[in-house]
Assembly symmetry: C2
């Protein structure tokens, strides 16, 4: 089993996070492993609970090394507590990335805890000032990535420019877009619109030697229509946009369900609509967009939704695998060699005064 870990593609797994762990986690790994037979997993969790599950899936078991963790991070635990307990499955799974045994860690546990331990243990990449949370969103014709979704409530222009650089690489690695179009989320498309830090970030990106296709400002109602492949915002704004989209989707789906329930004729028509339902599920199913990636650290942390199922969990693991396969962190480091965002941002911010 030791030989398993000598290969490059190893993902560290916190088997204990999430509502139905470790069952959903192991079932998710079965799916992920079928699609990625070359990947190995380091699985951290309660041996008494995880081992019987792995025994059910011998082909997955071959790809896993199970490591016993005596404790679990609970949803109500505060970040300040969890960073001091090195015996939790989450801490141990992240520490495997720090030690270089794995390149990414996936957890369905407490988000704040995952971010706190990841930052403390993995540390930010040199020349990157702030890590960000990034996820993949559905659009009419495809997908786009959006960041930051809440790691940083306040951001300056330099932070936003760094998010653009990292988001560009996420879109390349996770969406397979060779030259992603990168935009800054704003309340208007014109140059003079929005907050000072957004306008300055546009200047930094334009004047840097970052190798990105910058498309300027994008407005939230344009996101579904493919105006950009990468959407950059501070964590407060990104979180507001993400949750507003979630709320609107729930509102419409609930209204549709209620309208069908109260229309006897519609109930008769439902069998005709099965194809529509399937198609919608295929493109808008939240499980297909599961997985928030913490980027900017020396290693990748991926947060799966706590309430997801095996399919959703396998999608989150799939993101981790795509990014690791192309060595995401090394790509960021390389890109940073060509640009000095720090100096450029100082020039541009001073120029404004």
């Amino acid at each position: 089993m030791e030989q398993v870990l000598s290969d490059n593609l190893v993902i560290s797994i916190d088997a204990m996070g999430g509502d139905n762990s470790p069952r959903v986690v192991i079932e998710g790994l079965v799916e992920a492993s079928l699609k990625n037979p070359d990947v190995r997993f380091l699985v951290y969790g309660d041996e008494g609970k995880v081992k019987p599950l792995l025994n059910k899936y011998p082909r997955l078991k071959e790809k896993c090394e199970l490591r016993h963790a005596t404790e679990v991070v609970r949803n109500e635990d505060k970040p300040s507590q969890v960073i001091r307990n090195r015996n939790t499955s989450m801490y141990m799974a992240i520490d495997a990335v720090r030690r270089g045994e794995a390149k990414a860690i996936v957890s369905a546990g407490n988000t704040g805890a995952l971010m706190a331990i990841s930052k403390l243990s993995l540390k930010t990449i040199q020349k990157i000032h702030r890590p960000a949370i990034v996820t993949i969103m559905p659009s009419i014709a495809g997908k786009y990535v959006m960041l930051d979704l809440g790691a940083n409530t306040e951001c300056d222009a330099l932070n936003l420019a760094e998010f653009a650089l990292m988001g560009n690489i996420v879109a390349q690695h996770a969406l397979g877009i060779a030259r992603p179009r990168v935009g800054l989320l704003n309340i208007g498309a014109e140059d003079m619109k929005g907050k000072e830090e957004i306008k300055q970030a546009a200047q930094i990106i334009k004047n840097s030697h970052m190798n990105i296709e910058f498309v300027g400002f994008v407005e939230p109602h344009d996101l579904p229509f493919g105006k950009a492949d990468v959407v950059v915002a501070d964590g407060f704004t990104g979180n507001i946009a993400l949750k507003s989209i979630e709320g609107a989707a729930k509102l419409i789906m609930t209204k549709i369900k209620n309208a069908i329930k109260t229309s006897p004729l519609a109930i008769l028509g439902l069998p005709f609509m099965m194809g529509v339902k399937l198609k919608l599920k295929k493109s808008l199913d939240p499980r297909l967009y599961n997985g928030a990636m913490f980027v900017g650290l020396n290693g990748l942390s991926v947060k799966s939704h706590g309430g997801t199922d095996a399919l959703g969990y396998s999608v989150a693991v799939g993101h981790a695998i795509s990014m690791v396969r192309q060595d995401f962190v090394a790509t960021i480091r390389e890109e940073l060699e060509h640009v000095d965002l720090d100096e450029l941002s100082q020039e541009i911010i001073y120029d404004a005064y």
Copy 2:
């Protein structure tokens, strides 16, 4: 016709703003007038175009006084230009409110121009520091009001507290809710979440003698589920939330249409779904939520969507009428007599340092 204007309920109308003006405007007034036979209109626009339309609707014509305006604000005009031209239908219609001939003005024209002229001409209510843009949004079981939607990119805690005070009165007057629940839009419900100014605004609202039911922080995905009747944000955040909701709604509706188009069986099932379609239209039709109100000025300005139809325009006019009927501006002034937000906010903001 002079006698018409001696009554209280007079609304000033910019007949020339919007994509199909003045036709849509006049047709919208026909609808609004049917529901509000006691209301009179001061109609500003090109006499040659507006008069023939009014002649088609003699019952509406009786309620209108048409005043000729030689010029029109165009969509591409800059606020700095339009405030200097007193001969446009928009300027003249707003000026009627300043002179006290009408209590509210409705325009489907250029938003920036309407805000600029309204601010310059009507001025902010004494003790209110910033006007805000407010609109009515759909939820699962009803409606809520949200402000600011973009008048102020940056806001401090005092501005947010003032928006709460005004939003509360809008919900009372426009939605008929006796004691609206007022919340601050934030990225978490816990006290320590979000930006400093939002936390301080919560303190100001809690400690003021404002007569409002404050429910604390609300997150964007909770808005459709009736967590608050009034949602308060700075103009940047409110605009991001509004446009994200619009984008998500368009995404889902487009996905549904595309799925139906490509499912032959679904096309057969469509007749069964007519009731569902009607019910959705009844509760989510954007025309029913038309009308952005500029509040905090000595008079009310209502912006109708430029591309709306007669029904949508009549909804915007209906908001103006509800608010004027209950003397919205006087209610704000009365409420401000009981509270000294300025002093309170200084105490709270100093306390934080």
